[in-house]
Amino acid sequence: MKILGLSCFYHDSAAALVIDGVPVAAVQEERLSRRKNDAAFPIEAVEYCLDLAGLEPEELDAVVFYERPMLKFERVLTTALRAFPASWRSFPHAMKNMLGEKAWVRGVITSRLGVPGYRILFTEHHQSHAAAAFLTAPTERAAILTADGVGEWATLTVGTGTRGAAGTSIAIDREIRFPHSLGMLYSTFTAYLGFAVNEGEYKVMGLASYGKPTMADAVRKLIARTADGAFRLDLDYFDFHTTSKRSFSEKFVQLFGPPRNRYEPIDLATDEGRRFADCAASVQAVLEDILVDLTRDLHERTRLPDLCLGGGVALNGVANARILRESGFERIFVPPAPGDAGCALGAALYADRIHFGNPDKDFPDHPFWGPEPDYAALPRIAAEDRFPHEALTDEALIEETADDLAAGRIVGWIQGRTEFGPRALGNRSLLAAPHDAAMRDRLNRDIKYREEFRPFAPVCPVEEAERFFELPPGGARLARFMSGVFPVRPEWRERLAAITHVDGTARLQTLERGFAPRLYDLIQAYGRRSGVPVLLNTSFNLAGEPIVCTAQEGYSTFRRSGVDLLIVGNTRVRKRPKSAQRETHEEEELV
């Protein structure tokens, strides 16, 4: 059976193809269109998936959209009605927004792909999240919690999943509904702190480590716990339901002070900068407290050892690690794409296993479902641009790259198929030595062009991780897709300064050899030189750009930044000496 899953029109659109119960391809549209967080209909992603499988759209048995558009429309309309007359400014915007493409998804899919309407199915948004979390995890029975800003009505759901020879089921028991939303609470603070919503939440988490949760009580005024253990937002502090311009109200500003101007950098040496850091720390602490409470309750009710987390909130690695330590669950599974992009895969899997009742199949435990680079492109381009390049044997590639890393060089690393999800997990990475804080500053300044308070992540062989990081039971699994933040052991913090955040933690990725063999060998080779088999691993992109996908994009990023060498497959390209670069520029001046 051939099933295509789609998510689009809000943020991070994606397509995923499942054939006979096993994924064949999954990719976010932004990786192909090169527009960050591209929300458009994922036509390039669909073309990639179908081309890879050699299929025409009419050969698909079903196309599954990741949410129910009319139910979402009902929520948007009802929200406007409930807020009447305060919603008069947001109503025209909301209606124009919904009545464009979003309400006519069946027609859009039919016209874009030529698939007959009866083959188009719709899962609910949180069903898709739940399926993406549970059906991709190596477990047969697990509790499930999904949380994000909002889907149709649900903002947080809990339930259980069962799979095996007897069949597959995902039973979502209960949910918390809009406008009461952990995701909206966090996004409101993201906007208040001057970061882009749906993109800057990482920054809030990074900034939180610099502050103290001195305003946690104030945050709790915004989100009260209900008698049954859920929560409700006090809407007097929010404006997301009445206007599209701003998500926090004047009352919010009275409570927390003036919002940050997005153009003004956060200076942590000033009172204002510290206030923003304290704000971030406070909302982070409250979010964690509520999530721990909800998952502890879920564990008590289900008595299951495994928990699958889905939805954008599951990208919060600090909260995930606390849930692992405090909820009672022994293992937590977060998929590599827990956000809306992952819903494309979740929707396809849900239709396959539950709607069509196909037998359960093990899911390959890796994120590499995107395009493979054209390995011949880099030597050709490098030769055309007279950049020194060479094809190396596997052994030379590993050993010489380890030498380069040990010499303090930054390596652009492209191998195999690109990752599905927001994180570079070893196939589209920038790699560097993890020891020196100056390396972190260089990466922030010369390559990533981003705020200095944002940390970099380490990657370490799974069998060595305990030596450098304090992992609770189940921590190594949570770190497989970089989904948890754990303390660096105090005795290693100085030697791992580039990846140790200000609070002594790191967002670790644990690596098995089978997951990314070349990267694994490289880390071990680096370990033989430095005594520390750990590398700094950050996504291969510049600020405002999606992670690179092709060799050409890797080369362009390499040329435009301070990356010292680029490796695509077995080909290595180095930066030329400055004098040679000047010569070429002079030649180009003569156009």
Binding site: R34, V64, R68, P69, M70, E74, T78, A80, L81, R82, F84, P85, S87, W88, F91, P92, H93, M95, K96, V105, Y118, F122, T123, E124, Q127, A154, T157, G159, I172, D173, R174, E175, I176, R177, T226, A227, D228, G229, A230, F231, R232, N261, Y263, P265, Y350, A351, H355, I381, E384, D385, G544, Q552, Y555, S556, T557, R559, R560, T584, E588, V591
Partner: protein, 239 residues
Amino acid sequence: MSAWLNPIQRWVWSDPVRRGYRLLRFAEVEADGGRDLARAAELTPDPKLRRLYLRHAADEQRHSDMFRRRGSALLRESAKRGEGWQPDWLAPGERGLDDVEVEEGRDAPLLAFLHLSEAAAARSFAVYHKAVAADAETRDVFARILKDENFHMSYTRHELGRVAPRKQGWLLWKARLGRLWKGYLRFAVALAGLMGGILLTLQYFILLPVFALGAKRAAKREPEGWAPARDKRDLKGQY
């Protein structure tokens, strides 16, 4: 840009805070333009164009940094806070590469488009350069950027001649018409948006009050906290 706009430009650029925010917005536009050019470099099969696009992209990034640094400095130096009134509609700022569509194998139309965009940007920057006469540092930023714009104008024109020697005149006209069409579309979309907004606002106040009353009553009856999840096994419906 018409000479009669110069006094308006001088007024718009006179306030240091407004000047600062304007430069910061220019920084974003330049960075966006740099990304478009990097994309063009990734897609072109022509090695010389790739090198030139990459250099152009680096220039745009450098301009973005210069604008950002100067804009931030102006805001730091000023005691005033907040963006205040930003009359962009009165004196539209930089439009950068104007939603350029970068596609594989379409270098000639892209070069024509870039040439015209760079020429327009150079004209604008020349006006801004005059308008900030009293601010030597900002003036210097514009002067340095203007020099680059001249190089960008000349390489795009030269390369257009190389890539499409017989069609260059037609491509330039087509690009001019394309820019006009985009301007018209911007205007039409804004007008349609305004009209749609007015109609929907009227409907909101005329048709919705009764339903709003019902919705508010229903909301009051809704229990707090957890709600049972819907039974939603049928995937055929959109509702």
